[in-house]
Amino acid sequence: MPFTEFNKHLDPEELAMITSKGATQSFEVGEVILQQGKASKKMYMVIEGCVEITVKIMGEGSTIIEKLGPGKFFGEISFIKGVVSPTSAIANNQVKCLVLDNLFFEMLSAYHPATKYKVLTIVGKQVCERLKKMHDKITDIISNSDMTTISFFGELMQSLTTPNEMTFTEANLSHNFLRKLQAFAAFSQEEVDELFKLGIILKAPKHTTLIHAGEMNSICFVVLQGAVQSSIIYNKKIAKLSVIGPETLFSSSTSVYQGLPFTITFTTCENAILFKLSETAIKSLQANMPLLWYKLFDLIFGSLIALEKSIDKLEVRLNIEIYNR
């Protein structure tokens, strides 16, 4: 079975396990695999054939946005976020897909967490490539628009605003509170304690840039209080993607895909208290506590899918609205 990406990253035992446990499904030419606007609880990988990803925006005619061949995944947004499918997927010829559903991932989580991590890494890299493509498309739109630019004073303020490290006591954070964080619902109390030993608590004033353009390190944050804005910044013009509130994790794309040259900028839009894991902490996790790292990676992967969803929305908005002018 030509699993393309899987062949590169999984060992033969893992491949054999996925072949035996994962379901495959065939589709005739023109058959709708995913319908835009309908819920889907599955993610697919093309094994054979070609799948067209199409989208209807605001009731307009259908547009083909991508053609996917063997090794490519689709359906990840509705599967991970539990929302209706933002696009349709249609078989362009005779298509065979590997079908990954909740049951399959639960089985991987319970018995083969390392394999699940590898699968999510492969999907995550494809999502990053798509984010990069959308990022470049948006910077093109921004550069050709007469959007307002950040003032000199605004730039100066941002460059002077830096976060300060604080202790758990100074932040009024109890262990009990941390253990109950919804973001870490899938973690045991001991795992949350381990994680918080590795990271630091930051107090960041409004307008602090936490992940800069060109960030090459793997870092991740969890908002504990306050809010953070994700944006694409180009030529001093800002296009907002989303606002991230408490109990939400966000990370640099390099946490999933090292060396892909694009960055989403994360800046506090209110005063904020954050938990930060540096690259050193992440590396330590990867080396010494792989099971904990896999669980954290699930959250990082979820944040990547949230970004994918918001970057699609931003593109639609930039084509409709007279924005920030």
């Binding site: 605001m58 009731g59 908002v223 306050g226 907002k240 409709i320 609205e321």
Partner: protein
């Protein structure tokens, strides 16, 4: 906590928006898709502008503090009138006997003599502490029109006071400035009283010619670490859909596409389960829609106060 629907465009029979879609406004009162833990049972109000009506600059105003899904008069009215602009508000309040459910507290607010209406989805934390400090920002002629007990009516009075004098049909720039100034005033008064708890201020403002709406939260993400989750801490969304006309097309309620973009709905939540023809606006966004030569023009900007 509260649901708002606004419409601008081709004349439409009100029941097409209030009753018929699978997540219609009336359904959102007893079965909201979002924030479903809190029903919106404390009243409904509509303001509807119709070019063909007597004095078209003034809307039909209908308000009731009763449950809207039992209201036969509303149903009959909604099946008859077809305005080009509509602002409908469902009031949702927490379930306790301190809440005052009355006609005076039903949105949209529209003072006598004013031609601009406002509806609010959100709540200002500790409003009682800050209320009288807002008086200095309200023009004297508006002060005696405040009859209810909601923070929203006070926000309306502050907003009207920030518009240029006798401006019934303000320019988009004036609307944007007045909204921004209103939010800054609320922030300033909160700071004076050390109020730093998350308070959503989703405003819908219209005079029949434009709709302005905000998705905004003062001190977003701030409440005590150990405090129980409060209603005003939850999700206050803002969505829109636009196109040629809204109705029942291809077996579903949706905005019909096409070259002409004549109509827009801006609402707290989509009117259908299928949200693919809707766009959700992120927090800290202000949007203004206007009809220009029959086309809807949408201006948006990030709110950065």
């Amino acid at each position: 906590m509260c649901r708002i629907l606004s419409y601008l465009g081709k004349p439409i029979v009100v029941e097409e928006l209030l009753y018929k879609p699978d997540n219609s406004s009336i359904k959102q009162s007893y079965h909201p898709l979002y924030m479903s833990h809190l029903l919106n049972l404390a009243g409904l109000g509509i303001a509807a502008w119709d070019h063909a009506s007597h004095d078209p600059s003034l809307p039909y105003l209908y308000k009731t503090q009763h449950l809207p899904f039992y209201d036969e008069n509303l149903r009959n009215l909604a099946a008859k009138i077809s305005p080009h602009c509509l602002l409908a508000h469902l009031r949702g309040v927490t379930y306790n006997d301190k809440q005052i459910v009355s006609m005076q507290n039903v949105h949209p607010f529209m003072f006598a003599g004013a031609k601009i209406a406002l509806a609010h989805n959100g709540a200002l934390f500790d409003f009682q502490k800050m209320k009288y400090d807002l008086l200095e920002y309200i023009r004297p002629d508006y002060k005696h029109f405040i009859h209810g007990t909601t923070d929203s009516e006070w926000i309306y009075a502050v907003f009207l006071s920030q518009l240029p004098n006798s401006s019934d049909n303000p320019a988009t720039e004036d609307i944007v400035n007045a909204i921004t100034e209103t939010l800054k005033i609320l922030q300033r008064v909160r700071q004076k009283h050390n109020i730093t708890i998350n308070s959503p201020v989703n405003l819908f403002i219209t005079n029949g010619d434009f709709i302005a709406a905000t998705r905004f939260v003062l001190d977003y993400g701030w409440q005590s670490f150990e405090a129980p989750q409060l209603a005003h801490f939850s999700y206050h969304s803002l969505w829109y859909t636009y196109g040629e006309s809204y109705g029942f097309y291809d077996n579903e309620y949706k905005m019909k596409g096409g070259k002409a973009k004549n109509s827009i709905i801006i609402a707290s939540e989509p009117l259908t389960d299928d949200t693919t023809t809707w766009v959700e606006l992120p927090e800290y966004t202000l949007i203004v829609a206007r009809l220009e030569k029959g086309e809807v023009k949408i201006i948006s900007q990030d709110i950065n106060i």
